[in-house]
């Protein structure tokens, strides 16, 4: 059924297909006439059956038959013969479907029609299972049949264990069966979730499954189906059964404000409001969660200055879940001497209601406590004073002074656990260790790309589990080996180079940001040598690392100034979490469109952005665009064509991507030179949509 080369049709075949096409056209026009006139006579229905026999993919005909069935069912009034006649009508439908499936057993419409008939509840499911057995014998990997099988078994309440056994048999028959492995993972998920007898504890089940799939992996490592299942098992083994949270401000931190009203010693502060000082409270969860509100996250603060907070998700998915939640805290400036110190305690999971995308309930309350010293009363407003240009030249960066370790960043590694017993992963660690050993054994037998990739994943999983258990020992970490494996894979498997580079980047960032010592190596103090005002902003400089992707975001929540220049970034996904970010350098990367900058839309405090020397405008087709809201979609909002900016319609068409990203940003400085798209028109465009822009490509505006 698979891997058959397509042959050019012979003359007779072409002739036959022409005859078929003519017949099909004739039937089709006849059928459409009936359909439009809502004719449901025997003759009309017979035409649709003939049509479907010729072309089972013609879903209009399937819909017509549904209408016809409904028509007859509603016309049935004689209650004595009701169920009999319904049954005979539906049996006829099943027959038509069966005939259609004989012609093409992968016709979506046909399978769907069958489901529709079955869900009426008049047909025998035993018959369906027998039919399925035939279909699955003809092609064991037919995913339509597998889908339908799940549907039928759910109707009849076939025990899950029985279906699991069925997948075992199918896999024994031929283990190269994605559908069977997939169904196995679906069924096991149910059994594990419900903790059915014999399927608990989870680790025992996983051990058995690893053993089962291992036979497939060793027998034929070139067959991917087993590896897919292995990956699912790995995910099951590593996935924590607790939620972890990191936050800004971090637990146990003390926030001070300078005379300028600036947070700590940073020149680039969060927004200031006239009534006091406002800064965000950010929670970053290990999984997307929902249900963050003022009752699930309780805030206690002396003097009751913080009332109902409004929590907002950042980059929420369709069901409203997000990794990142944010609320603004507002402190009054009373000018008391000495300044008051407020203690803020945030209790997460105080009342139930937080639930993650994988269904973990946050049931144990946990706390973040930090203090905020009252801002001085002689707070200078940010308005008015001259905005200096941020200059990323090397000479402006110096090694941080000792005391800057007291910055919020020192404690930013604290990971809050929402689990009573964090040390529950020994068994999982053992399982992964066994898998690592087998993987090495396989690689000893033969060189195998997917084996190497799996080994890299296993090693990372091992480290992750160890870190859950709180033993973050650098010595036992296998980062170096993992990086080596990905480097190998880049050479061995060029078609997937980008993926390996991404993984490499994630591992590298994880390693470099995993502890304070290595993190400090990347921290620099920013202060323009020539500037009279001594700025003391800490900049995280992750430049020249060849990274293609950003990761480890939960450790970067504190960052206000970030240098990612001279990397190979194509996307900046994840940066939306850095709500404190003021200055961002993306110079000399591989960003190829404005839409790649979409995460910036969420960064309201961003002031300075350098995207010079990228590839924006260099590619006519943006392959990422499907991820991006088009101007035609309703999601973008209806303020699109407002003449707020008096933008010409030509600009609109040319720069709509830029408009969606930059509209609403408060940039004061933008560097964009060295991109194919750059020209005078663009400069004009930006000066229109960014009213606060002072510096463009190094030149002062206005």
């Amino acid at each position: 059924m698979h891997g058959r080369p397509r042959k050019a049709p012979s003359e007779e075949e072409e002739e036959a297909s022409a005859v078929k096409a003519a017949k099909l056209r004739a039937l089709q026009s006849q059928f459409l006439q009936f359909h439009h006139s809502k004719t449901y006579t025997k003759e009309a229905i017979e035409v649709s059956a003939q049509l479907l026999q010729l072309n089972p993919e013609y879903y209009t005909a399937w819909n017509y038959r549904k209408l016809a069935v409904e028509h007859y069912l509603s016309g049935e009034t004689n209650t004595d013969t009701l169920s009999e006649s319904i049954k005979s009508i539906l049996d006829e439908e099943l027959k038509v479907v069966e005939n259609a499936l004989r012609i093409n057993y992968k016709a979506y419409g046909a399978w769907h029609h069958r489901k529709w008939v079955l869900s009426k509840g008049y047909s025998s499911t035993d018959r369906e299972l027998k039919l399925l057995a035939k279909f699955q014998k003809a092609d064991a990997r037919n995913f339509h049949a597998w889908n339908y099988r799940r549907f039928v078994t759910s109707l009849t309440n076939v025990p899950v264990q029985e279906e699991l056994q069925y997948t075992t048999e199918m896999i024994y028959d031929n283990f190269s069966n994605y559908s069977a492995w997939h169904n196995r993972s679906v069924l096991l998920s149910h059994l594990l979730k419900d903790k059915v007898e014999g399927y608990f504890p989870k680790q025992d089940v996983l051990t058995e499954e690893y053993e089962f799939v291992r036979n497939a992996l060793f027998t034929d490592p070139d067959d991917q189906s087993g590896w897919f299942y292995h990956l699912w098992l790995l995910d099951q083994t590593v996935r924590p059964d607790h939620l972890s949270v990191s936050s800004w401000p971090p637990h146990c931190s003390n926030l001070h404000f300078s005379v300028d009203g600036l947070l700590d010693c940073c020149a680039l502060s969060p927004s200031l409001l006239s009534s006091g000082l406002t800064f965000p409270l950010i929670l970053c969860f290990s999984e997307a969660v929902e249900g963050i509100n003022s009752s699930t996250v309780a805030i206690e603060c002396e003097y009751d200055i913080i009332n109902d907070l409004i929590w907002k998700p950042i980059q929420a998915n369709k069901s409203g879940q997000a990794h990142l939640w944010m609320a603004y805290l507002n402190f009054p400036t009373n000018g008391s001497h000495p300044p008051k110190i407020y203690q803020v305690k945030a209790s997460i999971g105080q009342s139930p209601g937080i639930i993650s995308s994988s269904g973990i309930f946050c049931s144990h309350s946990s706390c973040i406590v930090f203090t905020v010293s009252e801002p001085p009363s002689n707070l200078r407003s940010g308005e008015g004073y001259d905005i200096e240009r941020i200059d990323w030249e090397e000479e402006n960066f110096s090694l941080p002074e000792r005391h800057s370790e007291d910055l919020g960043l020192a404690n930013s590694f604290y990971e809050l656990r929402v689990s009573e017993d964090p040390k529950g992963y020994e068994k999982n660690i053992d399982i992964i260790a066994v898998e690592i050993a087998y993987c090495r054994e396989l690689l000893k037998e033969m060189d195998c790309k997917i084996g190497k990739l799996t080994l890299a994943r296993l090693l990372m999983a091992h480290d992750e589990l160890v870190s859950y258990n709180g033993e973050n020992d650098q010595k036992t970490s296998s980062y170096k080996e993992v990086l080596e494996l990905y480097r190998d894979l880049m050479i061995l498997d060029p078609p997937h180079l980008q993926y390996y580079k991404d993984q490499y980047s994630l591992v590298l960032l994880r390693q470099e940001l995993s502890n304070k010592e290595s993190l400090l190596k990347y921290c620099r103090q920013y202060g323009e040598a020539s500037s009279p005002t001594k700025n003391n902003c800490v900049c995280l400089r992750l430049d020249h690392l060849s990274i293609t992707r950003i990761g480890c975001i939960d450790r970067l929540l504190w960052v206000q100034m970030l240098d990612l220049s001279y990397n190979e970034l194509r996307s900046i996904e994840g940066l939306e979490a850095l709500q404190l970010l003021c200055c961002l350098n993306l110079r000399n990367n591989k960003l190829c469109s404005f839409s790649a900058l979409e995460p910036l839309k969420q960064l309201k405090s961003l002031k300075a952005l350098d995207i010079s020397c990228n590839e924006i405008g260099g590619h006519s087709v943006d392959t990422r665009r499907y991820l991006f809201a088009s101007p035609l979609s309703h999601k973008v909002g209806n303020d699109w064509f407002s003449d707020e900016f008096s933008i010409s319609s030509a600009d609109m068409t040319n720069y709509w991507e830029a408009l969606t990203v930059f509209k609403g940003l408060n940039l004061t400085q933008l560097d964009i030179k060295g991109n194919p798209i750059t020209d005078e028109k663009l400069k004009l465009f930006f000066s229109k949509i960014l009213p606060e822009l002072k510096w463009f490509d190094g030149e002062k505006l206005r």
């Binding site: 024994y172 036979n215 497939a216 060793f218 027998t219 490592p221 037998e445």
Partner: protein, 473 residues
């Protein structure tokens, strides 16, 4: 000799071809010749079809054995020379019994199973012969005896079998599957990609060396491939006693045959099948096909001699036990006949019998594997005892192939005769007891000429096995 009066007279007395003996090769030739429009006479001295290929019932079989063992060499009847005739009658003797010709293509001494993709099956499919015969039963499993543990293990002969196997280590699974893929690659790249082909030099080397040196397989895997899949007879590791060294080329060919057999027919999951009612139905089907095409059949008709021309001793016809003389352009004799040395074209395979085979038939109440109806079991050399120099093969047939009474299993035991003393050879506990050894396949005879006819006959198969020879002590 029976009274000549009881023999019928055969009309006409001239044929294009006279075939004596109704063994499988003779039957195929008779069918082919008839289909080609030749007039053919096919005769056999026995009251049944098949000569040594026949499937006999128990009674017939014991009679057969007794009759043969009483007269190890049939002395040709004295024929009075008839000076008036222009022909001379050369008496025809038969060979001692237990000479038999096998049909399996790669290993003549095997239990009589068919590979789904072998020449015989190709012929059966190509000629539609199967319309005259019953169905086939699949051989559900093959097992290899693990001498160190004294138990039977599944032969990991396919991808799914390797996957399911419980006794191989993971590394062995990997090695074995890679080797199978190598063989497959060699087969598929035939004439194409050179890189996937096994080198000519390697193909000429002994298979056992290729497996251990080039492929680096473990002893266990080597033994499985050599004796349970490639079905080598002699201990390939022991050069002194190994009479037939399997070359890599042959070994690979056997593996390819084995693998292309798996899954050829949807109802036979394994590589091998066995015809229901025994293999005798094969030749009977060919005879039926021949009869449809006009071949004349006469059973219970011994041939006493060949008619040769007095002058140049060229063959002219045969003289029957009835005394009737029949003439034909060509003659095919079953290999069990001995031609007097004076006649030319005597089959070369008759002489120089190198290989002896020991066979045993057991009818037992207990199957080797309770859950499996029909199976093959292999005992590699030295697995039973240190001086076992050849492999022993057992074919278990159950009542679903109608060869043993229901509830009983029938086993055909075959092994090379190089065993020092077959009679006292201890058998492993897993083998059935040998008290019923002389019992044979139990086959109800059924009418031969029935069914639908028509269709032409196609080309002849390669019948290189026709002269191969084996003897039974």
């Amino acid at each position: 000799m029976e009274d000549t009066a009881s023999y019928p007279t055969i009309e006409p007395s001239n044929f294009d071809l006279i075939v004596v003996g109704t063994g499988l090769p003779e039957s195929i030739l008779a069918a082919a010749a008839s289909a080609a429009g030749k007039s053919v006479l096919h005769i056999d001295s026995n009251p049944y079809y098949g000569s040594h290929f026949a499937s006999l019932n128990l009674q017939e079989f014991t009679t057969f054995l007794q009759s043969q063992s009483q007269s190890p060499n049939s002395t040709p009847a004295e024929i009075q020379p008839d000076s008036s005739s222009e022909f001379e009658t050369v008496p025809l003797a038969t060979r001692p019994m237990y000479s038999s010709v096998e049909i399996i293509s790669n290993s003549p001494e095997d239990p009589k199973v068919l590979f789904c993709a072998d020449e015989m099956m190709n012929l059966i499919v190509k000629t539609d012969i199967h319309q005259y015969m019953g169905a086939f039963q699949s051989i559900d499993g093959s097992y290899v005896f693990d001498g160190s543990n004294g138990c039977l293990r599944n032969v990991p002969d396919s991808r799914s079998a390797i996957f399911k196997d419980k006794s191989l280590s993971l590394a062995e699974k990997n090695q074995l599957m890679r080797f199978f893929k190598l063989v497959q690659g060699h087969f598929q790249s035939d004439g194409g990609e050179e890189s996937k082909r096994i080198s000519e030099k390697d193909l000429e080397s002994p298979f056992v060396e290729f497996l251990s040196q080039k492929i680096g397989l473990s002893e266990k895997l080597k033994s499985i491939i050599l004796y349970a899949i490639a079905m080598a007879d002699y201990d390939q590791e022991n050069k002194e006693v190994c009479k037939v060294v399997l070359k890599t080329k042959e070994g690979i060919d056997r593996l390819i045959l084995y693998h292309s057999s798996i899954g050829r027919f949807p109802d036979a999951p394994g590589a091998m099948i066995y015809p229901i009612y025994g293999q005798g139905v094969l030749l009977e089907s060919f005879c039926r096909r021949a009869a449809v095409k006009g071949c004349t059949y006469v059973l219970r008709m011994p041939v006493v001699g060949l008619l040769v021309h007095k002058d140049d001793t060229s063959y002219k016809g045969v003289k029957l036990a009835s005394g009737q003389e029949l003439f034909g352009h060509q003659l095919i004799l079953a290999p069990s006949f001995i031609l007097s040395p004076g006649l030319a074209h005597s089959s070369p395979g008759m002489q120089g019998v190198k290989v002896k085979v020991t066979r045993g038939i057991c009818i037992t109440k207990n199957p080797l594997k309770p859950e499996v109806a029909n199976c093959l079991v292999f005992y590699p050399p030295q697995s039973l005892c240190p001086d076992q120099l050849t492999s022993v093969r057992v074919l278990q047939l159950s009542s679903n192939v109608k060869s043993s009474p229901s509830g009983m299993a029938c086993k055909l035991v075959t092994r090379g005769a190089a065993l020092p003393c077959p009679q006292t050879q201890p058998l492993p506990h897993t083998l059935p007891q040998r008290n019923n050894q002389t019992k044979a396949t139990y086959i109800p005879h059924y009418p031969i000429f029935s069914g639908k006819f028509g269709f032409g006959f196609c080309s002849l198969p390669q019948l290189k096995e026709i002269n191969s020879e084996s003897e039974i002590n």
